[in-house]
């Protein structure tokens, strides 16, 4: 069913998107010098598809406090009954067919 539940998290950072939907097959997470966000170090999260070249990338650079707030929001969303059920089902399917 539709959950219609959105947790809004106040953030400080920068993001860089792509004009069309792209397939993402990997997330690269590092805490390092950002390219744009106004911090010495930032949580750098790149959603990428390496097979499609370096430009297939949605980039987010967050302050460390913003990253922690995002993690809390993700964990809260993952605690919803629908997410718990789907994670259980997907984990079970992966155990049967790792591909």
């Amino acid at each position: 069913m539709c959950t219609w539940m959105t947790d809004k998290v106040e953030l400080a950072g920068n993001a860089r998107g792509v004009p069309e939907w792209i397939c993402v097959t990997q997330a690269n997470v590092s805490y390092d010098h950002p390219a744009q966000a106004p911090f010495d170090h930032a949580m750098l999260i790149d959603f990428v598809d390496p097979a499609q070249g370096v430009g297939a990338r949605v980039a987010v650079e967050l302050s460390v406090a913003s990253a922690a707030a995002l993690v809390r929001a993700l964990q809260a969303a993952l605690a919803s009954p629908e997410a718990v059920r789907d994670l259980r089902d997907q984990t079970a399917r992966s155990a049967v067919d790792p591909s």
Binding site: R16, N28, S30, D32, H33, P34, A35, Q36, P38, F39, D40, L44, D46, V48, P50, G53, V54, G55, R57, A59
Partner: protein, 261 residues
């Protein structure tokens, strides 16, 4: 100062003859011109790094910044840098590859019309570490400047760390063959003041020619005026030290004669 300059992306042979790209700027002058290889910081060959290249041209040097992540491209500099970061330092920029690219950039500068045959290297952040390494590995250079290069000493991982220990380059210092200028901020954590002390001790024990300048009230990357760590007073003084050092070691006739005289 040289108001006129030419700036462009150029290609030249780097490590193992791979043709890599670099950002090249040179003053419009008929006089003998020293060269500087600029090694960009970890975020990549970004607009600030290109501005540094143009600033050297403005001061009378021909300069080129090899794109050290070139092999991970093609693409926008930020995307290429992100891909290199995901690969990890050891794969993205192995030391022998960087030294080969620096040697190629130095050769490219020396081949340009008007070169006086002398080339220095300057690097920032991870590029500072590479400038330190180049001072040991690339004898065709004449002088090197390390700006807050991290992980010159090996760094042990904390028990909870999610990355492996980083290998340093201090063991290569025995082969350092040119004068070195180091610029550091005392609020930096990599290298921190104790690590700068240790680098200083090793170079002193080896009898190397070097000068370290350390600034209070500055941390990592304090020359970068597009970043929050920029510290104007320390950066102005630091740049003056860099230009004086290169004028001393790269200009025929040595110190006291300014390129713009």
């Amino acid at each position: 100062m040289k108001e006129g300059m030419l700036a462009e992306m150029a290609g030249f042979p780097g490590h193992l003859g791979d043709v890599i790209e670099g950002y090249h700027a040179r003053p419009v002058t008929t006089g003998p011109t020293p060269g500087v290889v600029v090694l960009h910081h970890a975020p990549g060959l970004d607009p600030w790094s290109k501005e540094v290249v143009r600033n050297f041209a403005y001061a009378g040097f021909a300069a080129v910044a090899p794109h050290l992540y070139h092999r991970r491209g093609p693409g926008d500099w930020a995307d290429v840098a992100a891909a290199a970061r995901a690969d990890g330092l050891a794969k993205a920029m192995p030391g022998d590859q960087v030294s080969g690219d620096v040697a190629g950039a130095a050769a490219y500068l020396k081949q340009q019309p008007g070169s006086n045959g002398k080339v220095g290297v300057i690097g920032f952040c991870s590029g500072g570490r590479q400038a330190f390494l180049a001072a040991c590995d690339v004898p065709t250079l004449d002088a090197a400047v390390d700006c807050w290069g991290g992980t010159i000493l090996p760094r042990m991982s904390e028990p909870s760390a999610w990355h492996p220990p980083a290998q340093g380059v201090i063991h290569r210092a025995v082969d350092m063959s040119m004068p070195l200028l180091g610029i550091f901020g005392n609020d930096d954590s990599n290298p921190n003041p104790a690590e700068v002390d240790e680098i200083e001790r090793v170079l002193t024990d080896l009898g190397k020619s070097f000068e370290f300048v350390r600034y209070d009230g500055a941390g990592h990357g304090f020359f970068c005026h597009d970043k929050p760590n920029y510290r104007q007073a320390q950066a102005i003084d630091g740049w003056s030290k860099v230009f004086a050092f290169f004028r001393t070691h790269l200009q025929e006739g040595g110190s006291g004669v300014h390129l713009d005289d």
